[in-house]
């Protein structure tokens, strides 16, 4: 029953964000600033994860393909498809749930326990809309952009690992990657990225917004934000795959 209670509260929270903004320009400016915070500031960690997951993918695929009659171009195909379909959107978003999710939940949670959210409400500002909506819009826009970057970097990481370890030359990797490339896969990955961006930012904002108590509860909200976002990302990953593939 508590699951329905929290889900209902989450839906009410989402609905409560939508009211006529006091000053649209301020909301836009906050959205841009959140895009920098979620997007640009997450780029280094996304790049590291993408390059290494691509590289490891090449080495492990090569390790498993022991039959000499299988062309090594298949490594390029497998690595690029895996990066586009799963590693870039899902693994990156799980990491973003940790970095961005905990940051959002602790920021809003701290504002809640230090009465800053009350101060917004007393001024006549829709605090949920002011605090969470720009983050959610920024997440839905920037996470797919990060995932596009992760796709390129992941494939590049796979390519570099292949060349550096002598598993296969650039030409063979690229030939394999090109032969299996489907535009739909990128579209599919972007659907996932958009959904995950929404999940991370909305769940984390929700966790932060309903924080009650003090510093200990802010920490709990932050942890819950990461855990629930990660679980929901994995569930959504399965549902989207089932629906689209």
């Amino acid at each position: 029953m508590m699951l329905f209670y929290h889900f209902g509260r989450y839906l009410i929270f989402l609905v409560s964000m939508f009211s006529k903004p006091e000053k649209l320009g301020i909301y836009l400016s906050r959205t841009f600033s959140e895009m920098v915070s979620i997007g640009i500031n997450s780029l280094p960690i996304v790049a590291i994860i993408a390059v290494f997951s691509g590289g490891v993918s090449t080495i492990q695929t090569s390790y498993q393909l022991i039959a000499s009659w299988i062309s090594k171009t298949i490594i390029g195909s497998i690595v690029s498809d895996t990066v586009i379909l799963e590693f870039a959107p899902t693994i990156t978003c799980l990491v973003l749930a940790g970095k961005v999710g905990s940051s959002i939940a602790s920021e809003i949670g701290t504002m809640k326990v230090s009465e800053q959210v009350d101060a917004l409400e007393v001024m006549g500002i829709n605090s949920a809309g002011y605090l969470a909506l720009p983050k959610i819009v920024a997440g839905v826009i920037t996470v797919p952009l990060l995932i596009i970057a992760a796709m390129f970097l992941g494939i590049w990481g796979g390519l570099m690992a292949g060349v550096a370890t002598g598993i296969l030359p650039i030409e063979m990797f690229m030939e394999g990657a090109r032969s299996s490339f489907k535009e739909f896969n990128v579209f599919f990955a972007l659907i996932k990225a958009t959904s995950f961006g929404f999940i991370i930012t909305s769940i984390s904002s929700f966790q932060g917004y309903y924080t009650e108590g003090g510093a200990l509860e802010v920490g709990k909200s932050s942890t819950n934000a990461v855990v629930y976002s990660s679980v929901m990302i994995l569930c959504a990953d399965y549902v989207i795959a089932q629906l689209f593939l």
């Binding site: 006091e22 101060a119 007393v122």
Partner: protein, 244 residues
């Protein structure tokens, strides 16, 4: 003027406010006093709309604040300034940006006009040249003064102060009290102040509402309060050294 009529609020089985009836007058410092946990903070939260009462009316110049739509409530809230117990300054904004915030959200002032208003408010609370400091860089007393400056930025009709002296040394407390008293008289604001500081009450209070275990035990002027022979009030005053 704000009138409270038959206000009730419960949290689960706990009846926190029981049929509260009182009034708060313009140009007066209206002090709500009571022991910790007596319900005065809940009363203030009901009055500013942070807590929805179960029953009763809160009338702002005759307009009920409880049973009105969101838009009308928002219009009344624009006339409210509030100083929170912990100041509630926005950590990510500088002092100047904190005070400018309500002006940006609700006024059509140009940037230059906003800056003039911010500087005026800062001057009014005697914090000139603090514009670029952040809340983490200023003392508790300064935070309270910035909180007051932010609260008066939009020329409010109603000023709510939740325990403005808590955590402050006696000298800074008197500075804050004097400031609140001056602003109330100067702009004819209806000031509602939660406090359990008896010195504040007798120094600057004009009207007192005494909350005892969720009941409004007394509502009237300071002299009547001081001379009251009600047992609960005598206990409260004697514990505060004012009637020993």
């Amino acid at each position: 003027m704000i009138e409270i009529k038959e206000l009730n609020k419960s949290f689960g089985d706990k009846h926190v406010l029981k049929n509260i009836n009182t009034s708060f007058y313009p140009g007066n410092v209206n002090v709500v006093i009571g022991a910790s946990g007596s319900g005065k903070s809940v009363l203030m939260k009901c009055m500013v709309g942070l807590v929805i009462p179960d029953e009763g009316e809160i009338l702002y110049n005759g307009q009920d604040f409880v049973d009105i739509d969101y838009k009308k409530k928002k219009d009344i809230r624009k006339q409210i300034g509030m100083l929170f117990q912990g100041s509630a300054l926005f950590d990510s904004l500088s002092v100047e940006e904190n005070i400018e915030f309500p002006l940006k959200m609700f006024s059509d002032m140009s940037q230059e006009e906003r800056l003039d208003r911010v500087n005026f408010c800062l001057q009014r609370v005697k914090l000139e040249n603090a514009n670029n400091l952040f809340p983490s860089e200023i003392s508790g007393g300064m935070k309270k003064r910035v909180g007051i400056a932010r609260a008066i930025a939009l020329n409010p009709k109603y000023l709510f102060c939740d325990e403005p002296n808590s955590g402050l040394d006696p000298v800074t407390s008197r500075v804050i009290d004097t400031l609140i008293e001056e602003l109330t008289e100067e702009y004819n604001i209806t000031t509602i102040m939660n406090s359990h500081d008896m010195k504040t009450l007798f120094d600057i209070g004009d009207h007192v509402t005494f909350i005892y275990k969720g009941d409004c035990a007394f509502a009237g002027n300071i002299e009547d309060f001081r001379n009251s022979d009600m047992k609960e009030i005598e206990e409260f005053l004697s514990a505060s050294y004012f009637k020993r």
